[in-house]
Amino acid sequence: MPEWHSRIAALALCAVLWSCGPARKAERRTDLILWKNQAGLDEEDATREMIARFNAAQSKWRVVAQSLPQGGYDQSIVAASLADRMPCIVAVDSPMVASYAWAGHVRPLDGYVARATLDQVSRAAVGRYAGKVYAVGQFDAALAIFTRKSSLAETRTRVPTLDRPWTLIEFQTFLERLKASGRHRYPLDLATRDDKASWWTYAFSPMLQSFGGDLIDRRSMRSAEGTLNGAAARRFGSWFQALFEKGLVNRKEPDESAFVKGRAAVVYTGGWWAPDYRRYAGDDLAILPPPDFGTGVVIGGGSWQWAISKHCAHPEGAGSFINFLLQPSEVAAMSDRTGNVPVTAAGAARSRDFNPDGKSRIFYELMERFARARPATPAFAVVSNAFTFAMRDIMDGKDVADALDDAVDDIDGTIADNPALASGGGE
C-alpha cells in the first residue's frame, strides 16, 4: 500500500472519531420518541424547528420525531399500543382522544402539564374524556364562509358580522339570488367531493348543532335518540337535501378549486384555504362567519393534539415538551408558519397574522367564539360513520326521517352492545 493511502485512511478515521465525539456526549440525554402524522410541508418544517428549539433549550431530554403517513396513522397507533411499542409523545386527532383514552393508549396530562397553562388554551383545543385532560393542541382550525365582496354587493346582501351573523333566511336568499343571476351553475361549494367521514362530521355536524340538534346526547353519551333524529335534526336534513335538489350545491365538484376557478361564488371550508383565496380574489375576498341556523353559530373545533402515551417511561419529559410548545412564542411561531389558528390569547397577540390587527384575526375570533369540539366518546367512529352515511343518503334523495332514524339505530345499537363505550359519562 502506498504511503498516501494509509495517510488518507488515518485522516478518515480521525474525522469519523471526531464527528462521533460530540454526539456521544449527547447520549447522556434521554431520548423521547415522538410520533406525528405527516402533514403539509410547512407544518413538518415548523414542527422540526420547534423540536430543535426544545432540544437546544434544555439538556435533559432529546425529542426524536418520526412522521407517519396520515392514512394509516390510527392503525399504527393501535398496533403499537397492542405490541407495547408506543412512542412517548403522540399526536392525536382530536375526535380520537376519547377513544385512545378509553382504550388506554394515552394517560392524563395531570401533573405533567400545569393546570394554569391548560386554562389558557381555547376550550375546543383541549382533549377531555371522563373529566380528565388527555391531550392538548398547539393550534386549531376554523371553518368560515368565503365569498367575494362584489357578489355580496350585486345580490344586495347584508355583510354579516361576528356579532350579527346571517340568519338561515338571509343565507338562503343570498344563495338563491346567486343562482338566479345565472352566472354560477352551483353557487355554493360545500366540499362534498371529499367523501371521508372525518370531513362530513367536522363540516356538517356544527350546522346540525346550530339548527338545535346534535350527533349524540352529550350529557350521557349513551343515545342519539331525539338529538340526531329530532325535529331540529329533521329540519336540518330537509334544508341540506334541498340545497342539492335546487341545484345550489353540486353533489360532487370535479376538483377542489370551484371557488378559485370561478365556478362557485361561495365556499364553506377551513381557514387553511385562505392563502389560495387571497391570491385569487385579493381585496375582494370576504371571510365571513357561518350562518346562525337558530341556536347560534357553531363551527367544529379541535385539530391535531399532543398526548403522552401510557407506556412512556419518562412522562415528565413529555410534559416539559408540551409545556414548552404552549409558550406564546411557540404558539405564535407555529401559527405564522402554517396558517393554523393559535389556541391561546397570548399566542395570538404575539402572532403576526392573528394579532388583533392581523389579516387572519377573523379565524381566531371564529374559533374563540364558536368552536365546539366533537363529542368526546369512544364511540365516535360509529357516530361519525353513521352520521356521514345518513347525510350522504339525504344528499342523494333518501327520506330524511328514515335516514336519521337509521343512523340513530346504528349508534344506539352499538352502544347497547358495548355499554362500556358510554362508561366515560357525559361532557
Partner: protein, 354 residues
C-alpha cells in the same frame, strides 16, 4: 441417470411432496389459514378493534344480524282525501318488538296491500347483490375486450409490440390513480365522456351524472374496471394464441375456411383452457371489488355501488366492529366456495358428456 431412479420406499415417496411443498404450505398456513381461523373465532364474539376490554362470546348473534330476513304486509288506511296511506315503516320497526332491528330492503304491491321485505342488515344484502351484478357485467365485458385486444396485437400488424405495451399499461398503474382520473372523466358537467358524447350527438345527448346516478354508477364502475384490467387477460390470451399451431390455420386456409370459421373452429377450441383460466381469475378479482368503489363513489349514491369487501372494511375497520366485519368475510367465503364447487361440478359433468 442414477439420481432420476433413486430408489425410494413408497413411504418416503409419499413424504416427498410435503417436503417440496413445505415452504409454500407454511406461508399459506401462517398468512391465510391461520388468520381465517382466527376470523372464524372472532365471528362468535363481540370483539371491537380498539377496546380495553376483551370481547365476550355472543354465539351466533353476528350471523343472525347479518342474515335475518323477514316481511311485512300492510293494508292501507284511506286518509282524509281518500288516498291509500300506509303506516311509516320505521314507526313499526322501531317500536314493534317482533320487527325490532329490521330495516326495509325492498318493497312491492299486491293489489292494495304493500309488502315490504325486511332485513336486519339490508346494506349487506344490497352489497352482495351489487357484487354479483358487477361480476356478471364485468367478466364477459373484460374477457371479450381482452380477447379482442389479444387478436388485434397478434394479427401481425405494424407496431404491434408498441400497442401490446400500451394496452398493458393500465394494469401497471395504481388502481387509486386510475380511479381518480376516471372520476374526472365521468364528471357530469366537465368530464370528457359527457362532453364527447354531447359533441358527437350535436348536443342531443343529455349529460349523465355517471357516478351520481344510482342506475349509472355501477355501469360506470364496470366500464372503468374492464378498461383497467383487460390488459392483463390480454397477455394471458396472447400466450394462448401463440401456442396454437400455425399449421392448423394454413390447413384451414387451404380447405377454404373464412376468417370467422378459422376463429370459431381453431382459435376458440385452441384457447379453451386459457379462456377457462381467464374467466376464473377475472371472476375472483371481480368479487373482490373495493378500490374503485372506495375512491370513486364511496359506495353511493344510496348504496348503489357498495360491495361486500367495502361493507366488510366499513364495518370492521372504519366502525371498529371487527367481529362483524369478520362475519361478513366468513359468510362471503362460504358463498364463494359454494359458487366454485357448483362451477366445478357442472364442469366435470360436461367433461364426462364430452
Amino acid at each position: 441417470m442414477s439420481t432420476a431412479s433413486l430408489p425410494l420406499s413408497p413411504r418416503r415417496r409419499r413424504f416427498l411432496p410435503f417436503l417440496f411443498g413445505g415452504p409454500a404450505l407454511l406461508g399459506l398456513t401462517l398468512f391465510l389459514v391461520l388468520p381465517f381461523l382466527m376470523a372464524l373465532g372472532l365471528t362468535f364474539t363481540d370483539q371491537r378493534l380498539v377496546s380495553p376490554e376483551p370481547g365476550s362470546v355472543v354465539g351466533l348473534r353476528n350471523y343472525e344480524r347479518l342474515l335475518s330476513v323477514s316481511y311485512l304486509v300492510q293494508t292501507p288506511q284511506p286518509d282524509a282525501a281518500g288516498q291509500p296511506t300506509y303506516t311509516r315503516l320505521r314507526a313499526i320497526t322501531r317500536t314493534d318488538p317482533a320487527y325490532r332491528g329490521y330495516r326495509p330492503l325492498t318493497q312491492f304491491y299486491l293489489g292494495q296491500r304493500r309488502v315490504t321485505i325486511l332485513a336486519k342488515d339490508p346494506a349487506f344484502l344490497q352489497a352482495l347483490g351489487n357484487t354479483f351484478l358487477f361480476a356478471l357485467l364485468v367478466v364477459p365485458l373484460q374477457c371479450a375486450l381482452a380477447l379482442a385486444l389479444a387478436l388485434l396485437v397478434n394479427a401481425g400488424l405494424k407496431g404491434q409490440t408498441v400497442f401490446r405495451a400500451i394496452y398493458f399499461s393500465p394494469v401497471v398503474m395504481s388502481m387509486v390513480i386510475v380511479s381518480v382520473v376516471w372520476a374526472f372523466l365521468f364528471d357530469k358537467d366537465l368530464g370528457l365522456f359527457n362532453q364527447a358524447l354531447s359533441a358527437i350527438s350535436f348536443g342531443l345527448f343529455k349529460p349523465i351524472d355517471w357516478l351520481g346516478n344510482s342506475s349509472a354508477a355501477m355501469p360506470a364502475v364496470v366500464i372503468m374496471s374492464a378498461w383497467q384490467g383487460a390488459g392483463f387477460q390480454m397477455l394471458i390470451l396472447l400466450a394462448g394464441l401463440q401456442g396454437i399451431s400455425q399449421e392448423l390455420y394454413d390447413a384451414a386456409r387451404i380447405d377454404g375456411a373464412n376468417p370467422w370459421q378459422r376463429f370459431r373452429y381453431i382459435t376458440l377450441p385452441g384457447l379453451r383452457h386459457t379462456i377457462t383460466f381467464v374467466l376464473i381469475v377475472t371472476t375472483i378479482a371481480a368479487l373482490g371489488l373495493f378500490t374503485q368503489v372506495d375512491v370513486m363513489t364511496g359506495g353511493g349514491p344510496r348504496g348503489a355501488t357498495t360491495t361486500v369487501m367495502f361493507e366488510a372494511v366499513q364495518r370492521g375497520v372504519r366502525e371498529e366492529n371487527i367481529s362483524y366485519g369478520a362475519t361478513i368475510s366468513v359468510v362471503y367465503f362460504v358463498l364463494i366456495t359454494l359458487v366454485i364447487l357448483l362451477q366445478q361440478m357442472l364442469g366435470r359433468r360436461r367433461a364426462k358428456v364430452v
